[in-house]
Symmetry: D2
Subunit: 352 residues, 4 copies
């Protein structure tokens, strides 16, 4: 199978580095262009980048020359974007207008009416929203986004339950890893042996994005789901892996927690048949041991793309409670973008 | 004022050490006897103890000889007990029967019908239960307990709200410090850069003990409060200070979060007038900064006896949400026992 | 190539688990027997083990029944031993006497006159000591050991320098990960946000074992190397990877640090030609960036089998200084045993 | 005794905050002016400051208005400076020229010929260098500096040994707390569960500053001490307290480590008779337990002003080895400046 030539926008940042790390052996996607700021343009990637991945920088990437993030500087079939929200809006639009599909982790277009906010295992049908996009009159360029790093594991863990019983309300406390704040991000003086019980802006996203994810595509529009999510987002001294403590009221609680466990265990991903190269065999794994999942031990399950659930139990206040864990920079960010791209290919939205 | 001669049961353990640390300059209570296991008896305290407090072991205590935990070996006016639950039952009973008041942090008698489960700022009137105790026919010996280290800050933070508006249900996630598990306690391999989302037995205590604390003393019995508490107890890489993320439904939510804040700020401790030497001027402090309180920065406020509250806000699912922080080995254990003893003195229950 | 049937002694412990983890896809060695204590014998491995590896327990291993560590219970070609030193002596001897080669990480036989203390990249020729062993009159059973987890990276980093210039004395401070103490090992209360500047017994091993490793096999005996090593061993809050800060005086310092760097970079492993499946292409890697190597980022280089060196520079007091990093439970323990086994196979010491 | 009116330069930074924290109950020095950047000037201290001390910001200080760092804006008797080196040079000179003594933790003037680099317990006689200063023609203004946060505990630990036996060379590895890098300082992604074995510029200071500290004042000049110090400076995940692993060659090693221990234990601080309010009774404490001192448990001994030594033992390579611990932001920074000011008062160098 011929490869796509892929660009990475924001290639020197932490999300950009994660894209490069995750794509280093990808069977379909080959990184051939690296976009970054004026300051980095013209340098080799090695010179321009403070590499923070644990694997070594791939040698071929290291020697590539970084360019600015302009469509005519990057001769590629499509781009992944790890740009900061502050600058992503204009740049991503420019690429889409120039006919280059943009698969982005930035939040700018997440609530745009014609942009899918997509997790392949949750709402792959939202992909059709792309047909409504007007960025590129020739219809080649478009934008697809993925949700926030808490929303992804939260909604993935809820999806089997939502499908079987409906959800009426959710209360959660998220214990979030420092890698979620990028680099330099959280100062060590704030977090060593400590917890910071507030992350600005996070709780609003957690309340909003799952509504679009679980929404229905009807008449070329998304009708949002509608239930309240009360979130408390805390930063904890963990490197990778957001752990969520969730309590939920269901529309139709079956009165027996075992039936909820069954629903989770029997749930089947809607993209299971596509055999996408990065798709985990079991997107949501329910652990029996009440001590599991734990960030340091289980965030990397299925190469960081599996969401772990644990302690699924009855709640004395609402109906059920559980924990959920997702690798925040893989499942919750760059890895989800790559899955989105694989789905786009499978559905014929990408051209070489 | 003449001093009481005080014994510490379980003196070589972590709770016992905390008693000794906190009592080192106490105006009323002087440690004059140290009880521990057969293995330690006969040694000096210095020899018998793996001291883990950060302040130095007091020199006078260091040279004292440890005895076994038997009433006739310890010539004291009363004892504090930091014994393990596994052995506390018989020993504490023996002291009470021998006419020595026992003020204990162990959990054995917390649900005993005539034993007060007491936090001075919450339910000082429960002290009268002592009059119903039958341990000592002469009426001098008795047992008083304090609650679990999560229940204390949780119930203290809820008390002003309970008084003003009533509470219907509570959902909380507790992020608990490793010192709560004693020494050696939590292995570092389990907790460095990690979270363990389960602490065996903890959630049951969190659901039960506040019911007795908030219960009413009627006809010489406690009528328990009755509302559900759904807890998720997680261990986090923090040394001292349990941080709680709480959501609650109130009996009569005033519809305005500012009124709840006022109720917390205007709440007055029922023991404020007693001027007990360890009592914090402000037992519950509500922070404005949403990043506060944090374990490393605020657990030691008011010498570790103040409970911090923060982020008091409306909940989209129940009525209100907030964070609460308490120093687990001071406010949540030995410090609360000492406050109980001070109240017992003030109420005339202790004799020299 | 036909596989060896391999047993793991101490299979439920942390070193035993590491053997099982590292051997899960080994091309030559297949784990077919699991030995542990009486308490575990008869249970499945899943039941008997508190699995602490981050990868999942292999399904086939999980269902195997654990036996006691007795030669006639384990029908294997040879065994790896991760036994505690307290019990390893008798058991390992029994296996060797029964004709089963023992490749052990335990320290009991490290200084035994006829037992090789071996790291394949350092002293593969010491393998011939086996021929002097008397454990098994039939000559099939024998014992091979690997050194302590600090001695391995220290001696590997010194080897190119030793070969080129000789070494007269070494001073080092080792900053050692908690996994080196096994499980439960280091209590979290001792090490969270802290350093413990003493590890009992460690400094003596660090001074002694490199002397045998760098010794010469002459007349069927090892003539030890002879230079002083002054070590200070500290425990630090790191999960995996011992980092050493080393200063050394050389026999013939060339007066130019660049020549020392060249010697390290041009050094060639004596087993390079054997293409052992686990052998890293570059056993010792010298980093240019003075911030590297770091435990969390580089301990797993080459699957945890590469030793990282950094900051190679002149010393104002002795001749040279550098840092060295080795993954303590892979390069410094189970991984080195597996390399030893691969070398034993290549040299014809193992039989199926 | 009447109080001095004291200004703090760089009052909103981390060193400035530490000055305010340490001076909150000082018997002689009262903070009456707060200098910071243009950006902060005009605001209250509470508004201008991201307070990171664990104690609460003193109420009276909180309401003070911050000014720019100009002598005529700050009506004080002298100033403490916690300014960044980048701007300290001009500002400190301006204050000295305006007749305001400057007691600074900044490094700019540490090697200035007429500026004492002073630790009261080490070289109080260097105070006379002030008489040679030309900053203020009226002779009231001057500058006094204290050394780097590693040099202070290192030189204090060496001083008793230097006095008794002389020192020929030193090799050390410093394991340095994150608070040494200020705020935001070290990113958590760099240091959680990790070690960074390099701190730019640090090792040069460690080699140089002790030479001036241990130098002799002769003919109104300092003749520097002259011996090599080989340092390796690493950052570790510790909040406060630099731990040093030191090996040293002595001029006249007595051949018996007990004699070195005696020299440390019998050493008497040259300022012991002055009874300075912040001076620790025992500036250097030698622990017997080989596990001590440890950063989290002992850095705050004597309010953070005592240097802990441990593991004093013979070295097989040089003569002796030991560990030393100092609280880097108290003993190693602001606390040392305050001690310098107390000595200046006692010697009559400060005027009200």
């Amino acid at each position: 199978m011929a490869e796509y030539r892929v660009g990475v926008l924001g290639a020197t940042g932490t999300v950009g580095q994660k894209f490069i790390h995750l794509l280093r052996n990808h069977p379909w996607f080959r990184v051939t262009a690296l976009g970054a700021s004026e300051r980095s343009a013209g340098k080799t990637y090695r010179e321009a980048t403070n590499w923070t991945e644990s694997t070594e920088m791939p040698d071929d990437i290291a020697e590539m020359t970084v360019t600015t993030c302009e469509p005519d500087r990057m001769d590629v079939d499509f781009v992944f974007s790890g740009l900061d929200a502050a600058i992503a809006g204009d740049i991503e639009k420019a690429f889409a207008e120039a006919g280059k599909p943009v698969i982005t982790n930035a939040r700018v277009y997440r609530q745009h009416e014609t942009v899918p906010l997509m997790v392949p295992e949750i709402n792959p049908d939202h992909i059709e929203l792309i047909n409504e996009q007007q960025f590129d009159p020739n219809g080649r360029g478009f934008i697809v986004t993925n949700p926030n790093c808490v929303c992804i594991p939260l909604t993935m863990a809820l999806k089997p339950i939502w499908d079987a019983f409906g959800v009426e309300s959710v209360i959660l406390t998220s214990m979030q890893a420092v890698s979620g704040a990028g680099y330099p991000g959280v100062p060590s003086l704030d977090i060593l042996g400590n917890i910071v019980p507030y992350i600005g802006g996070e709780e609003e996203k957690i309340a909003l994005e799952p509504m679009k994810l679980l929404g229905k595509l009807e008449n070329k529009k998304i009708t949002f789901a509608d239930f309240p999510i009360q979130a408390a987002a805390a930063r904890v001294p963990v490197v990778d892996g957001h752990l969520l403590s969730v309590t939920a009221k269901l529309k139709n609680y079956p009165g027996d927690i075992e039936k909820v466990k069954e629903a989770v265990r029997n749930w089947r991903s809607p993209i299971a048949d596509l055999n996408l190269p990065s798709a985990p065999a079991e997107p949501v794994h329910l652990y029996d041991d009440p001590r599991y999942p734990q960030p340091r031990h289980h965030a990397l399950a299925a190469n960081g793309l599996q969401v772990g659930m644990g302690r699924l139990r009855e709640s004395k206040v609402l109906d059920i409670a559980f924990t959920a864990l997702g690798h925040n920079t893989i499942r919750g960010a760059a890895g989800c973008s790559i899955l989105n791209a694989e789905l786009l290919h499978a559905r014929g939205y990408l051209k070489r």
